[in-house]
């Protein structure tokens, strides 16, 4: 009779699912470190990590240790953080703006980041003092600032009551910064630079080192925790902002905190690895399909699924064509689009 109350067995199944996903994430990360142009046996990987973290002295060839420690491990950790952040950002924005098509790049952040990166790379803004990442981060924040200012001005200061406004403002901002990027490339870039920029625009994990890990891990952890902290408020937005307010959510403050948190996460990730499409849009929908729409389950599920998906996509991007690394965005779209089609078709059958 009271079937919807989670019984012990349902709770047990959920715990099992969560543990299973966490193990899958660890296995994917381990696989991500082992697999590559130079395959490295798992034993060597664990020995290297143990040597570095716990000061053990297992014998490991220096070249292999270098590959594991400086290239693979950093790359896999950043990929996991990035996937988790983008997926959670997507889930949060879809709930907050009540739009199934919302994704982390909605507010012009990725186009701003591209324009910033291109300014540094091609125009030499900052005369060599600014790194690509700093330029991208500055561009992302500039675009985000302009978009939210435009949305606020157009809304006459009533917050985001008409959430359509922020989406339209985001489109305007994205178009402007994309045009700027194209203009700079067309006007000033040589062929070599243009190729480098294009690679970066599609997402690129190859430049990732330990300092990036030092940024990605805290940003992802803090950002995801802020979003999980607001899980009940996010549930309350399902019938709109007025209904959320009548359920006790301080709407304007929650919108400001969550849009701020998602923007910082997205800007940080974009500045390290470029704009990786599809993760923020599709992973939340896939996660909803598995665990339902309530955010207490949806946000952790999105984070785990996003992390696993992006680490796996990175592995594929390294090995699918011998001696060549593809932009990771190509893989996420090639794998993600058909996968999403399957989800849509199965969801339809279940309705």
């Amino acid at each position: 009779m009271i079937a919807a109350i989670p019984t012990a067995s349902v709770r047990g199944r959920r715990v099992a699912l969560a543990i299973g996903a966490a193990i899958l994430l660890l296995v994917t990360i381990a696989a991500g470190v082992c697999i590559g142009e130079t395959p490295i046996p798992p034993g060597v990987v664990f020995a290297t990590i143990s040597n570095k973290f716990f000061g053990t002295e297992f014998p490991v060839a220096p070249i292999q240790a270098g590959i594991v420690w400086n290239y693979r491990l950093t790359r896999v950790i950043v990929a996991a953080c990035c996937g988790a952040s983008l997926a959670v950002c997507g889930a949060v924005l879809q709930a907050l703006l009540r739009n199934a098509l919302a994704d982390p790049y909605l507010l012009g952040i990725s186009s701003g980041a591209s324009a910033g990166a291109v300014s540094v790379l091609v125009l030499g803004v900052g005369s060599g003092l600014l790194s690509l990442s700093v330029g991208a981060f500055a561009g992302a924040l500039l675009a985000f600032g302009l978009v939210t200012l435009l949305a606020r001005a157009a809304g006459g200061g009533v917050g985001l009551q008409a959430t359509g406004l922020i989406i339209l403002s985001g489109i305007a901002g994205s178009q402007l910064f994309n045009a700027l990027t194209s203009f700079i490339i067309a006007r000033s870039a040589n062929a070599e630079q243009a190729r480098g920029v294009m690679f970066w625009l599609m997402g690129n994990m190859s430049g990732v080192r330990w300092p990036d890990v030092g940024l990605a891990v805290p940003v992802a952890a803090v950002g995801v925790l802020i979003c999980i902290w607001h899980m009940r408020a996010l549930d309350a937005f399902t019938f709109g902002a007025d209904s959320a307010a009548s359920l006790g959510v301080p709407v304007q403050r929650v919108q400001a905190v969550l849009i701020g948190a998602t923007s910082m996460m997205t800007a940080a990730m974009v500045s390290m690895v470029g704009a990786i499409g599809f993760v923020g849009l599709v992973i939340p929908h896939a996660a909803r399909f598995i665990v339902g729409v309530r955010h207490a389950r949806l946000l952790p599920a999105s984070a785990l699924t996003g992390a696993i998906f992006l680490v796996a996509a990175d592995v594929v991007s390294r090995i699918v064509i011998p001696n060549q690394v593809l932009p990771i965005g190509v893989i996420t779209a090639l794998v993600g689009a058909p996968g999403f089609a399957v989800i849509l078709l199965r969801a339809r059958r279940m309705r």
């Binding site: 399902t238 709109g240 007025d242 359920l247």
Partner: protein
């Protein structure tokens, strides 16, 4: 007085939607709010609970200014059922009713057995317990209104505000929703379209062009003269021999 408004007004770009309303809602009563389309009923219901910030005046919950109360505490005292509530999410009936516990739960506080009991009781009160696993978008209009009413009851409020809860419902569901509201041991303010439904309330308030032009017991307040001014119709008061209650019939 559970709710008091003082000179409450709301103006958008020079158009005043609600003007200078000072009134009181008495603990325990069912108060009917009537008035033509666009007379400001919905805006008034949003103003008194602070979802909209008033341009002038203020409202007070048991003497405390609503504007200075945290949203959470307002939601522990007032529950609101909107005219339309649509969601694109795949929510079950129970998910929707569980939202009503939001004002009582802090960020990471776990869901307790008490919560389950309150939600179950609210579902039983509106006779939707058997449908708790149904998906929201498969429900009919009347079922949706009942589920939203259950969600409001799960909030355990002191005051229930309802914006035309019988709109778009067939006559059976109109009467069953109204009977349900009247039977609750709660203060309720209900915006209504049907003047015959207003006759069932303890008191009514008549809104006209943003102002509260009359307040009082329905049979004394809804006079033919007033209704002619406000709605532009002529009213004949009839007597229903079966129910023993007055009934209105209208002509242009």
């Amino acid at each position: 007085m559970i709710l008091t408004t003082r000179n409450l007004g709301y103006t958008v770009r020079g158009n005043s939607i609600v003007r200078d309303i000072s009134m009181e809602i008495i603990e325990g009563e069912t108060f009917g709010l009537v008035g033509p389309n666009g007379s400001g009923k919905s805006t008034f219901l949003r103003l008194v609970q602070g979802i909209l910030a008033p341009s002038t005046g203020a409202s007070f919950l048991q003497g405390e200014s609503v504007a200075s109360m945290p949203r959470r505490r307002i939601a522990q005292m007032i529950a609101f059922v909107e005219q339309h509530s649509e969601s694109a999410d795949r929510l079950t009936v129970r998910d929707v009713v569980e939202l009503g516990r939001n004002p009582w739960l802090s960020a990471l506080q776990p869901w307790s057995r008490d919560e389950d009991r309150i939600v179950g009781q609210a579902l039983a009160d509106v006779e939707m317990r058997a449908m708790e696993t149904r998906l929201w978008h498969t429900l009919s209009g009347g079922e949706k209104q009942r589920v939203q009413l259950a969600r409001a009851l799960a909030q355990q409020p002191r005051l229930l505000l309802l914006d035309e809860p019988t709109n778009h419902l067939d006559v059976h569901h109109q009467l069953s929703i109204l009977g349900l509201i009247k039977g609750l041991p709660l203060t309720a303010v209900v915006a209504l379209h049907d003047l015959n439904h207003a006759l069932m309330c303890d008191r009514v308030g008549v809104m006209h062009r943003g102002q509260m032009v009359a307040v009082g017991p329905p049979e004394e307040t809804l006079t033919p003269d007033l209704l002619h001014t406000v709605f532009g119709v002529r009213v004949n008061m009839l007597h229903d021999h079966v129910s023993g209650r007055p009934v209105m019939s209208f002509t242009l």
